[in-house]
């Protein structure tokens, strides 16, 4: 018999369903993702640290789980919410069912609820704190716990997911990435990219490695001097969880690096670059999480369909003169990419995007940004 589970929100809403993961209790900010595929990539994306993720697509687990689809060493979400978990995994790539995967990794998860009603609530009220439990099924108690959950604003979540040690990355892209199978040979003889890992998705260093780069992944708190001592040809600022403002050490590091080495930032990395240059960020109502977000590249006019996962954004009003908006969301006109003009100095270029060009999960439309970074490195 399925074990009951409950999801309670700080506004008093309680959803009752079945436990599909590990027993236990978890809390976090409840958010939703509209990707119809890629649940395992979502689960393992460190940017979801501290968040209970709801999938809007109702049938989850259909193709199981496999090591090859992981974007980090383990699931990172605080909890997982779906309408119906598939008991059977059907795909030649699958190694285990989603339920087993969740249980194995201790992820508390629920299915059997009206996920659309939950999403509509989050859409209208904005992101809410919540508690997901299989141990406490008392509504009042759960709602009280949800209200007591710390939320994301003002917390440095990066420190909870960033690696302690640096490492040399050599894993290339999977053969699935490019139709012609290119990018899957990692020579390591190309430019040296130092990637600051604030909770980086693995597909990002795979992209660098796949382009022949030597990749060194360093902890997010690495100082500018340490980074420069590694003689990078380019510095990458990774994605990561939560509010960028409290990650002051990284903002300081980026400020020192801007102009010295070509810089490319993704998601949190984009926010850190913007903050380092003097812009401000703000918490969005419910954020962008999905794989269908249209973004226009203002430099070419072309539209790309992007994978996104962010609850904070760069305030366009706050941009300093040297930061130019390069990409806009076609859904809400929010800033999706900036470029550092380097003012009058002929310093090294820096640019960043709010979305995830490395995809995984999501469309491959934005791979060109890695080429842009390579071009910037080559000068």
């Amino acid at each position: 018999m399925p074990q009951p589970a409950k999801l309670a929100l700080e506004d008093g809403t309680v959803f009752t369903g079945n436990s599909i993961g590990a027993p236990g209790e978890t809390d976090g900010e409840v958010c939703f993702n509209t990707s119809m595929t890629g649940y395992q990539e979502v689960l393992t994306d460190p940017s979801y640290h501290g968040q209970i993720v709801t999938m809007t697509y109702p049938m989850i687990g259909n193709y199981g789980a496999s090591d090859a689809d992981a974007e980090s060493s383990k699931p990172q979400v605080a909890g997982f919410v779906v309408r119906e978990n598939s008991r059977l995994a059907s795909n030649f790539r699958s190694e285990q069912s989603l339920g087993d995967y969740l249980k194995h990794h201790g992820v508390v998860a629920i299915d059997g609820i009206d996920t659309r009603a939950l999403v509509r609530r989050l859409r209208s009220t904005g992101a809410l704190r919540g508690v997901l439990s299989t141990t406490d099924l008392n509504d009042d108690s759960l709602v009280a716990k949800a209200k007591a959950s710390p939320g994301l604003v003002g917390r440095d979540l990066v420190s909870e997911v960033t690696p302690q040690e640096s490492l040399a990355w050599s894993q290339p892209l999977s053969a699935w990435t490019n139709l012609d199978g290119s990018g899957d040979s990692a020579s390591g003889e190309g430019p040296h990219v130092v990637a600051l890992d604030f909770g980086m998705k693995w597909n990002i260093p795979r992209h660098f490695a796949g382009r022949g780069c030597r990749v060194t992944v360093v902890p997010g708190a690495t100082s500018a001097a340490d980074i420069l001592a590694r003689e990078p040809d380019g510095v990458f600022l990774s994605n990561g969880p939560g509010d960028p403002e409290p990650v002051g050490y990284a903002i300081g590091t980026v400020r020192e690096l801007v102009g010295q080495k070509p810089i490319f930032g993704i998601c949190l990395g984009h926010q850190l670059l913007s903050l380092a240059c003097g812009a401000k960020t703000y918490k969005m109502k419910f954020g962008h999480r999905g794989a269908n977000h249209p973004v226009q590249d203002l430099t070419t006019g072309k539209v790309e369909i992007t994978c996104q996962n962010h609850g904070f954004a760069v305030d366009p009003e706050s941009l300093p003169a040297e930061l130019k908006v390069t990409h806009r969301s076609l859904n809400d006109d929010s800033v999706e990419g900036v470029s550092h003009t380097g003012s009058a100095k002929d310093g090294a270029p820096a640019f960043s995007v709010q979305y995830h060009p490395e995809a995984s999960a999501g469309p491959h439309d934005s791979h060109y940004l890695f080429e842009r970074f390579m071009a910037a490195i080559r000068g």
Binding site: T34, F92, V303, H364
Partner: protein, 1152 residues
């Protein structure tokens, strides 16, 4: 880039008649395109031969040509209209082929017409097998490995690359000897040898077999700036080997990981770019090997397709509309997303429900046809369902099919159980199940359940079907739940399913079957798994209404959620809903709340309401009233686009009256399920349960059951009994017209005449009646549309044979036995009555004599041979019937006019007055309503809908019958080429799928046009083969004389030749099939026959004449099987020889 202003007038091609493979979806796409282009200020010239479409309503385009879709005719239209551009991608393959023909013949270049959206070379690149293959190779995509070979040696070499099993397909064979599969070398070489022999070009295509692979479709949109988005990924439940149109399909794709999906997405983008479709939608099909993920591109349609319509309905993204706007220069992000209004059309829809489409077949109409599902599409319609999960949508779709099933088993169609839950008498054996699983047919889906019920495992079923294990597990979960329900009903522990461990028994109360034993949690689960009340009623031995009351009392009710393209990320402005039990929150706009945001449609259908008129009933008058229109469900033979046309007009009428129109339908092809046709759209199966749920939820002030064909009428009684307000003609009156006894009394009261008849409730009664009224008799089941199981019986043995079939088709209702009137002229009449005034917009005279189903006959408006006195008599009879029946809205009457010998006269040669017989009355919209509207210019359906809403004809200013100045001929179109080898003779059972219309000042030319539009190319020269039944001999000889005089060669059998020689007509002697060779089949093979005229003595594919007709059809030679059609054709051929075919738009015709 804004819209192009260098073009002003755009020619849009429709797809012609409904045929298998091309149905209402192209009315939907064409109608959307008309609206989209006109709201941008372009002048639209539309050509389509199909009068049953919304797109050919004169209000939809600036110039509407209902003309044959041939390049010669379209050139005449181009000459008159001088359009700047031609948009070929919205009218199916027909429009694409026609555009290519216009290009090929230099018409476009000559008149300076630009092909927009896709250029000729692009279309050719997508459609040419070799060029497509080369293009795929260039971008590194795999295609099915194979080669066209001309020798066995080469085939042997190719086998090294393609491997076994291999598919062997001879090229260009007549009669469609299809592909075969070789499983070993010897078999392969034998098949190649046979194929080379069979192929007239000595060519055989050998290919690797991908049967059993997973099949997917991607719907892709591209703009002029090379922005490309995927609208929808569709996964076929039935693997490769079954045409996607015949497969159960599911959206979105279910069993692909993101890695695989993105690769397919990349491939789709690469394909559309490499092929070079400039703008618009394309459909790309892929196969994936489930064992290793190898992906193959199957084909690409560089146009809007059936799947595009499905994808539009499945996601809410209006592909055709956006495709039209992209064609005139807009880029995707410059167009708004209609549903959210705050975002743009440049995105990829995310859906938060599951969509299942199930095809509907008509093999019962073609018992001689091979019912195996292959790569040749055979289905005639489809239903789509939206559910909160796959299981819910799958069971909803099964009941939406309207084949008597109410889900995945557990209903009266369930062979596994008898009426009381005992093993069914026809429970299939293990062998039967295995056979049904191995060979895909329309029945396979039911046998998947029987397989689980019989104890087969999902693994075993997979081995036989290659249906993805994920789908099979979903079905297994449904069957497991069925077992839980049965256990609750009987108090026994549930049976294990699929070889799995037995489930722990659920709590239940031992004792007699009772809903009380069904726990709330199990009831919720059952409903969430898509079980209908009817299925629960069957399991628990209760009535559907008992289950409903109990369910509602427990608060187990569906909620309605929006189809919003964005998985609730943005607020939806468009009221398009589906029901689900997966929910706690309902999104239907409350009644009397500020009305749902009305769409600003650029082209509102013109109103016929006179200013100042005020509605009189309680339905009209208040802007917050809601009226529900029940649609026709999936297309089938006898019920198709014509009824959807009527439903759309009902909706337009209500909206003009300020009433909120609420559409309920399950057919994704249609205009009625477009989100901007009605104020509220509910995509739901048309069953009592689902319809009542909607009506209760929207608090309907009225329900219209008259417009959707037999489907809503079959629900009318139950809906009325449940207290729903049926508007228009009362349900009692509808039933009175169907009730033979009541109806006979009424006919007598009115002093009308009916053929002698009787009602049989048993086969014995049927024999008695037939003997009483005398042969020939017409046998038919009551309450069945389209002449299902209807047959003319000339003697007792024939009667015995057909009565049995009729009782099966009647499903418990009686069978009607009528005296059959031979050589009668049949007349179809459509009328509107408001209780006060009766309007008769159309008196249609059939060309074929009575005995051919009215839906299969050609007919003309105005009547071409009936006397004015007879027409007046028909009108008067119609008027009386409408008043007496209390019709409020539409009524269709069928009459037969028989020249009868005056019994007072002593001489048998004196034929006196034509006598009018009443055959049938249907107080509802008929199949002919759109034809009448196009022939007369009167929006018949809309007027009738307003009458039903309480606005009288007088108030509408409609008081006189229309008097058209031209002749319109409707001709039926048949699917015979899809069912090779079957006899094509027409009979009382309807078999046509579509219709076309020819318009001209003269009957002969209108008939000629209708034939051309239907694909019957009447030859201007060549050989005509004549063979007539004895009773037509004299009239046939007369025709031969006329043809001979015009210089046609005459082919005839020896007996006929002699008769012709006697009157000086020289004919070529052709042996009967049994008389040696050369016979007609040889002449056909040598392409020496331009036309076949053959009226049947006998019927059936095994008879000589049946073989001749089938062979001619396969060879593409037109065949006329009735003497009346042959006579009309000869007159038309004479006319064609002496005068030019003219084209004229409806707007011009009706402005005169």
């Amino acid at each position: 880039m804004p819209r192009r202003d260098d073009i002003h007038k755009i020619l849009l091609l429709g797809s012609g008649p409904i045929v298998i493979g091309q149905a209402c979806e192209f009315d939907y796409s064409g109608a959307q395109a008309c609206k989209a282009l006109r709201e941008e200020g372009y002048e639209v010239v539309l050509v389509n031969s199909n009068p049953a479409t919304i797109m050919t309503d004169p209000s939809m385009a600036d110039r509407t040509y209902i003309e044959p879709l041939t390049w010669e005719v379209v050139e005449k239209i181009i000459e008159r209209e001088k359009p700047d551009a031609l948009l070929p991608t919205l009218g199916g393959q027909t429009a694409l082929n026609l555009a290519m023909a216009l290009d090929h013949h230099g018409v476009l270049a000559k008149h300076g017409v630009e092909m927009i959206a896709a250029k000729a070379d692009v279309i050719d690149k997508a459609e040419s097998r070799e060029r497509f293959k080369a293009a795929m190779g260039k971008i590194g995509l795999d295609v099915c490995r194979g080669e066209t070979v001309t020798t066995v040696d080469r085939a042997r070499e190719v086998l090294e690359t393609i491997g076994l099993p291999a598919v062997v397909r001879p090229s260009f064979t007549m009669g469609g000897s299809g592909s075969s599969i070789a499983y070993n070398r010897a078999e392969y070489e034998q098949l190649v040898r046979n194929g080379l022999e069979a192929s007239p070009t000595s060519e055989v295509l050998v290919e690797e077999s991908i049967i059993g692979w997973k099949e997917y479709e991607m719907e892709v949109m591209r703009d002029a700036d090379d922005n490309v988005v995927i609208i929808c990924a569709i996964e076929n439940f039935d693997p490769m080997g079954v045409h996607t149109g015949d497969s159960i399909t599911v959206a979105p794709a279910q069993t692909l990981s993101d890695k695989e999906y993105q690769r397919m997405r990349d491939a789709s983008l690469a394909v559309i770019r490499e092929i070079g479709v400039e703008t618009g939608g394309s459909n790309i099909q892929f196969a994936i090997n489930p064992d290793d993920g190898r992906m193959i591109v199957i084909e690409m349609n560089p146009r809007v397709s059936r799947s595009s319509a499905l994808a539009s309905k499945a996601t809410g993204f209006p592909i055709a509309k956006i495709a039209a706007k992209l064609a005139i220069g807009y880029r995707l992000h410059e167009l708004p997303n209609d549903i959210t209004r705050v975002t743009t059309a440049c995105f990829e829809p995310s859906i938060d429900y599951v969509v299942t489409k199930i095809p509907r077949f008509a093999f019962e109409k073609f018992p001689e046809a091979d019912a195996t599902l292959t790569t040749q599409m055979k289905s005639v319609g489809e239903t789509m369902a939206i559910g909160g999960t796959f299981k819910e949508s799958f069971q909803k779709a099964l009941r939406g099919l309207e084949v008597g099933a109410f889900g995945f088993g557990c209903d009266t169609k369930d062979l596994w159980y008898g009426p009381n839950g005992e093993p069914g008498a026809d429970r299939p054996s293990a062998d039967e199940i295995e056979a049904k699983l191995t060979v895909p047919t329309a029945e396979r889906v039911w046998h998947l359940r029987y397989a689980f019920k019989s104890g087969m495992t999902a693994g075993e079923i997979f081995q036989l079907t290659k249906i993805d294990p994920w789908f099979l597990d979903q079905l297994q979960q449904i069957v497991e739940t069925e077992e839980e329900l049965r256990a609750a009903a009987t108090g026994e522990p549930p049976t294990s399913v699929g070889g799995g461990a037995s489930q722990p028994p659920t709590t239940n109360v031992a004792g007699s079957p009772s809903l009380g034993a069904l726990s709330d949690s199990l009831l919720w689960k059952a409903k969430r798994y898509g079980f209908s009340d009817r299925q629960l009623a069957t399991i628990f031995g209760r009535s559907e209404m008992e289950v409903r009351r109990d369910r509602e009392a427990r608060g187990v009710k569906p909620v309605y959620k929006s189809v919003d393209t964005c998985a609730a990320e943005f607020e939806a402005q468009t009221p398009y809903f589906y029901s689900t039990y997966w929910g706690t929150e309902d999104e239907t706009p409350a009644k009397n709340a500020p009305a749902s945001p009305r769409r600003q449609s650029g082209v509102e259908p013109a109103t016929t309401t006179k200013p100042g008129s005020t509605p009189t009933t309680n339905v009209a008058g208040s802007p917050t009233k809601r009226v529900v229109i029940l649609g026709g469900g999936p297309n089938r033979i006898g019920q198709g686009i014509e009824f959807d046309y009527c439903c759309c007009h009902a909706s337009y009428a209500l909206r003009e009256l300020g009433i909120e129109s609420v559409m309920v339908n399950s057919n994704p092809e249609t205009v009625s399920t477009d989100y901007d046709t009605s104020d509220l759209l509910f995509f739901e199966p048309l069953t009592v349960e689902d319809v009542m749920n909607v009506c209760e939820r929207v608090e309907a002030d009225g329900v219209i059951v008259q417009f959707g064909g037999q489907t809503p009428l079959n629900l009318a009684r139950a809906l009325q009994d449940a207290g729903l307000p049926i508007i228009g003609t009362a349900v009692d009156a509808i039933e009175a017209a169907e009730d033979r006894e009541k109806f006979s009394a009424l006919v007598d009261r009115l002093g009308l005449r009916q053929p002698d008849s009787g009602i049989a409730r048993t086969p014995a009664q049927a024999r008695e009646i037939a003997e009483r009224i005398g042969f020939p008799v017409l046998v038919r089941p009551s309450f069945v549309l389209g002449g299902r199981a209807m047959e003319i019986c000339y003697d007792k043995s024939q009667l015995d044979r057909y009565v049995a079939a009729a009782f099966i088709a009647a499903q418990g209702q009686p069978v009607l036995i009528d005296c059959f009137l031979e050589s009668a002229t049949e007349v179809d009449v459509d009328a509107i009555c408001d209780g006060e005034t009766v309007i008769v917009p159309g008196i249609m005279e059939h060309i074929e004599e009575a005995g051919v189903h009215s839906g299969d006959s050609a007919c003309a408006i105005p009547a071409y041979s009936l006397t004015a006195a007879m027409q007046a008599e028909i009108r008067e009879a119609t008027d009386k019937l409408a008043r007496e029946l209390g019709v409020r809205g539409l009524m269709n009457v069928q009459f037969a006019v028989v020249d009868e010998c005056d019994p007072a006269s002593s001489s048998t040669t004196v034929w006196t007055n034509p006598v009018l017989y009443l055959i049938e009355v249907n107080p509802r919209a008929s199949r002919t309503v759109p034809f009448v509207a196009k022939a007369t210019g009167m929006p018949v359906a809309k007027i009738a809908a307003k009458v039903m809403a309480g606005v009288s004809l007088k108030e509408q200013g409609v008081t006189e019958d229309p008097k058209p100045q031209h002749v319109s001929v409707k001709e039926a179109v048949f699917p015979f080429v899809k069912f090779r080898g079957i006899d094509i003779v027409l009979g009382p059972e309807m078999r046509s799928t579509g219709e076309v219309m020819g318009i001209s000042p003269s009957f002969a030319m209108a008939f000629a046009k209708s034939q051309l539009a239907a694909g019957t190319v009447l030859p201007l020269q060549g050989n005509v083969f004549l063979s007539f039944a004895p009773r037509h001999k004299q009239r046939g000889i007369e025709l031969a004389k006329r043809l001979f005089a015009r210089g046609y060669g005459i082919l005839a059998t020896p007996g006929t030749c002699d008769a012709l020689a006697a009157i000086g007509v020289t004919a070529t002697r052709v042996n009967k099939l049994t008389q040696g060779r050369p016979n007609l089949l040889d002449y056909l093979a040598e392409e020496n026959v331009a036309l076949v005229m053959n009226t049947p003595i006998g019927k059936g594919a095994r008879t000589d004449e049946g073989k001749i007709r089938a062979a001619a059809t396969s060879a593409g030679v037109p065949v006329l099987t009735t003497i009346e059609a042959a006579e009309a054709a000869v007159t038309a051929m004479e006319t064609l020889a002496s005068s030019e075919m003219q084209v004229e738009s409806l707007q011009e015709r009706f402005s005169q």
